[in-house]
């Protein structure tokens, strides 16, 4: 490496090391005032503890449901957007991308107004006479799933869109010309050819859902503890560094695990 190249890389690398790499590694081996093995042994206790397992289980389950919803709603949206032309297509695409620029706090906050005790959905249920006493909706798994789906749907749409836009519309026409119905052409031509985009979408949504903080905090509260809200409580309420670091390790393993699986799926898809 020439000296000039090294000089170009060095300042950025120094910041990266100080602001990310070194603290992240140090957090696992040396939390303040703890033994070097404290995090690992705490990690071992956590993954066998029923209370912690319930939080991990809830985080993973809700993450899987949100992933299924985001892909299930995001793929049809991406497909219709990719196949539509003109002014409306452009406006709908912009509406799907715009939320990515908007604060998660602002986006999530709307559900408090919709699902809260004096919220719009409760009022609607009472007004239509469906029930006199609307059920608790805020601080339920449903609230968290709705909030996370709203948050990650745009990400699923753009990941699917870039894949489905590359599928030649002539191919579904060819399949239909050969006698496949519209549904069969969709499932046996469009979906398989967009496979890699769907895998990317699912990975991003799952990784985002199991690490999100704002949504479980605002919509799940203390009755729907998830890994992120639990980590915050260990770090700032009980100041238990080993537990906070071990929770961070569990979250990181989940994210790395699903990214690894998706890379593997991508490689198998490429050779198949």
């Amino acid at each position: 490496m020439s000296r000039k190249t090294a000089l170009l890389l060095l300042p950025g690398f120094a910041f990266l090391a100080a602001g990310f790499l070194v603290p992240a590694v140090a957090m696992l081996i040396a939390p303040p005032g703890e033994e070097p093995t404290a995090v690992l042994s705490r990690f071992g206790e956590m993954i066998t503890d029923p209370y912690e397992l319930r939080i991990i289980g809830r985080t993973v389950t809700l993450g899987l449901i949100v992933t299924a919803l985001c892909v299930g709603l995001g793929f049809p949206i991406a497909y219709l957007l990719a196949r539509s032309q003109g002014r409306w297509g452009g406006i709908l695409l912009a509406l799907a991308i715009f939320p990515l620029l908007l604060s998660n706090v602002v986006r999530t906050f709307g559900w408090l107004v919709l699902l809260g005790a004096n919220g719009a959905i409760g009022k609607l249920l009472t007004a239509t006479g469906l029930t006199d006493d609307p059920p608790q909706m805020l601080y339920t798994p449903l609230a968290v799933v709705l909030g996370l789906t709203q948050l990650f749907l745009p990400l699923a749409i753009i990941s699917c869109y870039s894949a489905v836009a590359q599928v030649d519309p002539g191919l579904d026409d060819a399949a239909r010309g050969l006698g496949a119905g519209r549904t069969r052409a969709f499932w046996s031509v469009v979906v398989p050819l967009s496979g890699p985009g769907i895998v990317v979408a699912a990975t991003l949504v799952f990784a985002g859902s199991v690490t999100a903080y704002t949504t479980p905090y605002l919509l799940g509260g203390s009755s729907q503890r998830m890994l992120a809200t639990q980590l915050f409580s260990y770090a700032s309420v009980s100041v238990d560094w080993a537990a906070a670091s071990a929770t961070a390790l569990i979250m990181t393993i989940l994210v790395f695990g699903v990214s690894g699986l998706s890379a593997l799926a991508g490689r198998r898809g490429a050779t198949a």
Partner: protein, 264 residues
């Protein structure tokens, strides 16, 4: 578009989930009532006045703007040279070095926030402003490297060599030939970086201090204490500012290009 009833109904449901909650925030902000409820009682701009005269919101707004601007400038100043080295330099393990610069994208931000809080603020006694700036800069480096890298990959190195051949020095060749080619990439990276830093919750969450707080975290705390439309008004103001940013982005480089760079 030919009729596709199943896909179309799923799409309508998806758009409802994405957009309707945001509309309800706006409607609530114009309420004349004292609590967050639906339907809002009366119409007034009282809560907007209450939001812009509320010191914790305004102070943290200024802090968040400074932090986002500082981290964006730093990330570009550090990231662009690194990108040039990665794409143009003769270095072994190019992929590994680029991967290292992109690595903050794959570790959960809350985990990075915990690491910085525990190691730098508690462990080394660093103040929270420096820690926030360091953390946000590291978080934005991947954007700077990847988005400007996409522009650089499109720019033909032969053009820069031609300029050098015609007698321009390396600095002049960079400033007059390469930099203009990078402009859309730099603009996209700056815009994405600024917005990402300004909106961030998970990384900033643990790095708060009485003296220097960020706006999104201040708003989260506010909801916990008081349940009135002041927060909806503040959220609506952020929404309006974001719409302005989005229109500028669309008019200049285009939405698709901005997000095309990061989503690969």
């Amino acid at each position: 578009m030919r009729a596709r009833p199943v896909a179309a109904s799923l799409a309508v449901l998806g758009y409802i989930i994405m957009i309707v909650p945001i509309l309800f925030v706006v409607v609530t902000a114009f309420s004349a009532g004292r609590t967050l409820r639906f339907p809002p009682q009366g119409f007034s701009l009282t809560w907007f006045e209450a939001a812009v005269t509320y010191d914790p919101f305004m102070e943290s707004l200024v802090s968040s703007l400074y932090l986002a601007a500082g981290a964006t400038v730093l990330a570009l100043l550090l990231g662009v040279p690194a990108t040039i080295a990665i794409h143009r330099g003769k270095i072994p393990g190019k992929g590994l070095i680029e991967g290292l610069f992109l690595s903050p994208l794959i570790v959960p931000e809350l985990v990075v926030g915990l690491a910085l809080y525990q190691q730098l603020m508690i462990g080394l006694g660093l103040d929270n402003l420096s820690t926030l700036l360091l953390g946000h800069t590291a978080l934005l480096l991947p954007y700077a490297v990847r988005v400007t890298g996409a522009s650089l990959a499109l720019a033909d190195p032969a053009v820069e060599e031609a300029a050098r051949g015609l007698g321009a020095g390396p600095v002049r060749a960079f400033l007059t030939v390469t930099l203009p080619l990078l402009r859309p990439g730099l603009f996209s990276a700056a815009l994405l970086g600024f917005v990402t830093s300004f909106n961030n919750v998970p990384l900033s969450l643990l790095l708060q201090d009485r003296e220097f707080r960020t706006l999104p975290v201040t708003m989260l705390d506010y909801v916990q204490q008081s349940y009135n439309p002041r927060i909806a008004a503040m959220a609506t103001l952020i929404l309006a500012a974001t719409v302005v940013v989005a229109v500028i982005a669309e008019r200049t480089v285009g939405f698709a290009r901005i997000f095309g760079g990061i989503n690969q």
